[in-house]
């Protein structure tokens, strides 16, 4: 089963520590070594543009936006169950909790629609 995990977060004023980066890198290596992480990437801050249709009107709106939480990164997992991706993501978030006081974030986990699973 394939899942997309996208991270929305707002950073405190403090800078992230070297320990945080080290812990994230180690966890990333573990997930890659477990063979569950197919793809990942970081997203550039302050680059968001919204293209919206609302009330039958189309609009294009450039940032900056006032929301405190920004889209930060994404990971694509291939795992046996939803609980696997939840556990990997939980570990990822817990590292931030431990090593970056004041940081708030949410990882949204959604399953990628299978393009052609055999009928059950």
């Amino acid at each position: 089963m394939r899942y997309l995990s996208v991270l929305f977060a707002s950073q405190p004023d403090t800078s992230p520590s070297a320990e945080l980066f080290q812990a994230i890198a180690t966890l990333g290596q573990e997930a890659a070594a477990a063979g569950v992480m197919l793809d990942m990437g970081g997203l550039l801050p302050q680059t968001r543009t919204d293209v919206t249709v609302e009330s039958e009107e189309l609009s294009v709106l450039d940032g900056p936006f006032t929301e405190t939480k920004e889209l930060v990164s994404y990971v694509v997992y291939e795992v046996r169950s939803k609980e696997d991706v939840v556990e990997w993501t939980r570990r990822f978030m817990d590292i931030h909790r431990e090593l970056w006081p004041g940081w708030t974030g949410t990882s949204q986990i959604v399953q990628v629609m299978p393009t052609g699973e055999p009928p059950a």
């Binding site: 890659a32 477990a34 063979g35 197919l38 694509v76 052609g116």
Partner: protein, 426 residues
């Protein structure tokens, strides 16, 4: 316990099983059977205790510490001579919080241990089915019931395979240590063969009703990536993962809406998994730079398909040439057959059939359904329809997979030849 919590324990187990079992195996002085028992016991303890106390914040550390306690208990019992109760005595719930007592087990160099564990699970003295069962249990961290489901056998049978594997390792005196540099390549070769056997069972199931079992392919892929992480300079580990990713990219297109097989020629290539193709092509390039080998060559062939817009745009000449090299490295009648199929696409069915006819005397080909199916396909393209029908009938008789057999029967009955499929095994 809620199902969801049991699923969480199982998920944590899949992440921690290999590391934990490997550490235990070394701590027990190389007794993989005991290590596996202690590991299973630790898993059972988590199933009992987490619903009561909640999932620990560091579940990996909790498991490792609990396993360590089990090991210490075991050693103590053994010194007091009470062997009977050494492993299974601890059915009472745990009351300690081992999370805070993480030992130096965590700080040990585990990478070699994990590779040693994989090499042990795929020990050459074990039968292939027992290698597969043990590898899925201790390395992939699957439950016995999951292994049974994946291989369409009873849970008892799956459990027996694991017990037999452990017993065989003990009687063969297999030691939990890295093989010497001279033996390592051959031992890694067995590991890759085991992983590819798991993949193939998922990609084209040997028997049963389902044509594919994708989850098994993904289990094999995860195992393969694990070997690559442990042996990043090994060209064929990368080659095999590239091959499996490129083949697995076609899984979504490999069956129709009703589940019946759709072979390469008729697949809707828009349904191929682009992410796996991208990874497979990247991995293939790395494998080639490291020196390649037979799996890498097969990945090259799979890449020819992955790059082609359709069957006619496929570089069949290159595929035929790759099969010539592959046959030279690892001669086999199946490769001769695949070569003949490629030739029939590059130079026409008459040229392909000529090569197939040279294989007619090979007894393994006589019993190989895809040989007859390929023959039927070429005969049909030559307009020799009664002979084509007979060849497809023979293929159907020999095919154990029910879904694929139905395709051959249909082909045998379609003598007008206006609905063509190819039978490339790649």
């Amino acid at each position: 316990m809620t199902d969801s919590l049991a699923d969480t324990v199982a998920a944590v187990w899949r992440i921690e099983s290999a590391r934990l079992t490997a550490a235990l195996a070394r701590r027990t002085g190389g007794d993989l059977a005991l290590a596996e028992d202690l590991a299973s016991d630790t898993f059972a303890a988590a199933l009992r205790q987490w619903p009561v106390d909640g999932v620990p914040r560091h579940p990996g550390s909790w498991l490792m510490a609990t396993a360590h306690h089990r090991l210490v208990d075991h050693a103590r019992r053994r010194t007091t001579g009470d062997r009977k109760h050494m492993i299974y005595a601890a059915d009472q719930p745990e009351h300690h919080d081992p999370t805070e007592e993480v030992t130096d087990m965590l700080d040990d160099p585990v990478r070699d241990d994990e590779l040693t564990l994989i090499l042990m699970s795929c020990h050459p003295t074990l039968s292939r089915e027992n290698q597969i069962a043990l590898t899925l249990k201790v390395v992939a961290g699957l439950q016995t019931a999951e292994i049974a489901r994946a291989f369409l056998v009873s849970e008892t049978t799956a459990a027996q395979r694991i017990v037999r594997a452990k017993r065989r390792l003990a009687t063969a005196g297999a030691r939990f240590e890295m093989p010497g540099a001279a033996d390592l390549p051959a031992r890694l070769g067995v590991v890759l063969a085991v992983i590819y056997a798991i993949f193939n069972e998922g990609y084209a199931s040997a028997a049963g009703e389902d044509w594919t079992r994708p989850e098994l392919c993904h289990d094999a892929l995860r195992l393969g990536r694990r070997v690559v992480a442990l042996q990043p300079e090994h060209p064929e580990a990368r080659g095999l993962v590239a091959l499996m990713e490129l083949q697995a990219s076609r899984l979504p297109a490999r069956h129709s809406a009703d589940g019946s097989p759709v072979l390469l020629e008729d697949q809707d290539r828009r349904r191929w998994d682009r992410l796996l193709i991208r990874r497979g092509l990247e991995g293939l390039a790395q494998a080639g730079e490291l020196g390649g080998g037979p799996y890498t060559l097969q990945a090259e062939i799979a890449a020819c398909h992955a790059r082609a817009a359709d069957i006619t745009a496929t570089d069949w000449r290159r595929i035929a040439a790759l099969y010539v090299v592959l046959r030279h490295l690892t001669p086999s009648p199946v490769l001769d057959l695949n070569h003949a199929v490629a030739v029939s696409r590059a130079d026409g069915p008459a040229a392909g059939l000529k090569r197939l006819d040279a294989l007619t005397e090979v007894s393994s080909m006589q019993r190989y359904p895809l040989f007859h199916a390929a023959r039927g396909d070429m005969l049909e393209r030559l307009g020799r329809l009664p002979e084509a029908a007979a060849a497809f009938h023979r293929a159907a008789e020999l095919e154990a997979n029910q879904a694929l057999r139905a395709v051959f029967v249909r082909r045998a009955e379609q003598r007008n030849g206006d609905h063509r499929q190819s039978f490339d095994t790649m």
